[in-house]
Assembly symmetry: C2
Homo-oligomer: 352 residues x 2
């Protein structure tokens, strides 16, 4: 058996996208993961360093090719971008094969399972390396049973106005703040990046639709065995033309007592849908609608707003946080920038 949680020395493939939204897997794993990072591959940014994006704690070279990363003695290649639809871009095939032949394990979150590809599978067998497809769904196929939370458990789900704006990061920052505050806290990964970071979970967007609510219910049941404060990573958004079903499966499957609304200041359209006539929804009505829709199955409140202010200067950020508090009447902060304490306080106040 491959121990997928054994520590690795990763080289991360983020060709053409490092630092952009498309490389959110790479960014998440670098920032929150437990493995050492040897290098990032992005030929369009070769010669630069991850510290330019994430600060001085992250001294990781960006290189043009796998060959240029090998002197750093990596043990695994991680695919660090997430193309819509999750297929393997054609040019990556050679990189994956070269990595396997160089003795590296492969870590992928694509919908296309690399371990099922005969060419990759044979090469991996010859090289005695493992291929882990994080999106491979569990054998378990069960519909929701209407399970109630155990007494004392607080389940919090991050929801948002779009995909790819920080719902996973917010859940991780809240878990960190909760642990620092001495609370027995758990992070529930529901996507491939969260799984790479925390070593367990299910990529729920890969689960058969009939079983997504039931799988989310089961994930929370597992988490209740690990701690009292349960921060579930959200996916997509309730108004997303492509991913809304996944979002609702999480809301009704997890039955969170509280939700955290995540929004990126300055984003007007769904990521990748910039030409659409559909703009992101104003927060107050969208928050109310989340409470109504969640409440169809179990009561839930949006307790606070996590504002991603990455596009703003610090002073602009503070102003926008204040403006959002005013607009929504809810405690607001950017936990990625300023830590999760204030939002955790808001949650503790609502849930205890």
């Amino acid at each position: 058996m491959t121990d997928v949680n054994a520590r690795q020395r990763l080289v991360i493939l983020a060709e053409g996208e490092f630092g952009e939204i498309g490389s959110k897997t790479a960014m998440g794993v670098i920032r929150y993961g437990r493995d050492a990072i040897v290098a990032v591959i992005d030929s369009t940014r070769a010669g630069r360093n991850v510290r330019e994006w994430l600060g001085d704690r992250y001294d990781i070279p960006v290189v043009a090719t796998l060959a240029a990363a090998l002197p750093g003695r990596p043990t695994a290649l991680l695919l660090g971008t997430a193309p819509a639809g999750g297929k393997l871009p054609a040019p990556w095939r050679a990189v994956v094969l070269d990595a396997i032949r160089a003795g590296l394990d492969i870590r992928s979150g694509l919908h296309t399972f690399l371990g099922d590809d005969p060419e990759f599978a044979i090469a991996a067998k010859v090289a005695d390396v493992s291929i882990v497809d994080y999106r491979r769904p569990p054998e378990r196929m069960e519909v929701s049973s209407g399970r109630l939370h155990r007494p004392g458990k607080k389940v919090v789900l991050t929801v948002g106005t779009d995909c790819a704006l920080g719902k996973m990061s917010v859940a991780l920052e809240l878990r960190k703040s909760a642990v620092e505050a001495g609370l027995p806290a758990v992070f529930v990964p529901t996507g491939q990046t969260g799984m790479m970071i925390d070593g367990w979970g299910v990529a729920v967007d890969r689960v058969i639709s009939d079983f997504i609510n039931g799988t989310c219910e089961w994930l929370v049941e597992q988490a209740e065995g690990m701690g009292d404060w349960i921060f579930v990573e959200g996916q997509g958004s309730l108004d997303h033309p492509a991913y809304s079903a996944v979002t609702l499966g999480l809301i009704h499957g997890c039955t969170p007592q509280a939700m955290v609304m995540v929004h990126q200041a300055g984003r007007s359209h769904h990521h990748g849908w910039e030409d659409s006539s559909q703009t992101l929804k104003p927060l107050p009505g969208f928050i109310r609608l989340h409470e109504q829709v969640a409440g169809l199955v179990a009561p839930s409140v949006v307790a606070c707003v996590a504002l991603n202010t990455a596009l703003l200067s610090e002073s602009e950020s503070r102003r926008e946080i204040a403006r959002t508090t005013e607009e929504t009447g809810l405690p607001t902060d950017d936990p990625y920038r300023y830590g999760g304490e204030r939002l955790l306080d808001a949650l503790r106040e609502r849930l205890t």
Copy 2:
């Protein structure tokens, strides 16, 4: 290649459930399908006749065993009940094997694919019969693209206060009324029973969550090539603890200009969740919420209410239809009992 649309002489397995909600597949195929029905197998009701449930047009014996059905020269065995979770009940294995050995094709809508079962597959090869698993998803795996309807196309989705209360039947009755009115109308099957009846479609609850919105969008695109009035069979309900994700995938994937709200008079709880504290939602607020939630992606109205009055006498039924019109302000009828004309009129008024 098996022609799954070749006409058959069916024997339908509905053991222990014929006439109950659990046999909705059997009932739907008998009432709306195009195949001849030789017999229904239900040992608990053997000796009775389908006409007791569906009226004199349906002279079909209920028998105790497959052997008792064979003199009617069936060509296929259809599994006519839909256990939650879609697994094969253990006692059915022998019946399926006996049917295969007797030279019958197998037609199944279970999540468990019978064609992938080695014992069934080998037996089918030996007997030269086909096994069709209607829930097998299409190869196509694409997320929604935000496609707009072609000009002049009217897309209508049936939604409801629960699963298993007639959303498929309402869509079929509306298609029938539309065809009778001379409109080029299409029924879009989104579940295994609809597929058995109409010979195409996708069981969308079997599709990977990430692709359900995209698959529904694609089904409507196919339907737009077949006619102008498109009646999409709904699934589950927006407030269903287990199936709501599937429902929202249909709403946001199909972007119907109008919805028909289906409700069963006298039903207070979700089917199979009778012990839950959650009761079915009052119609007026639930209707508004559907319009709000659908409107997150594209404007839509609930144009009318289809009331399943199967539990009521005719006079009670008329009273309850009038009361529902009063309560919701919307045209209401039981299209299964009285035909789809009135609801079609309501849709034509709203959409033209």
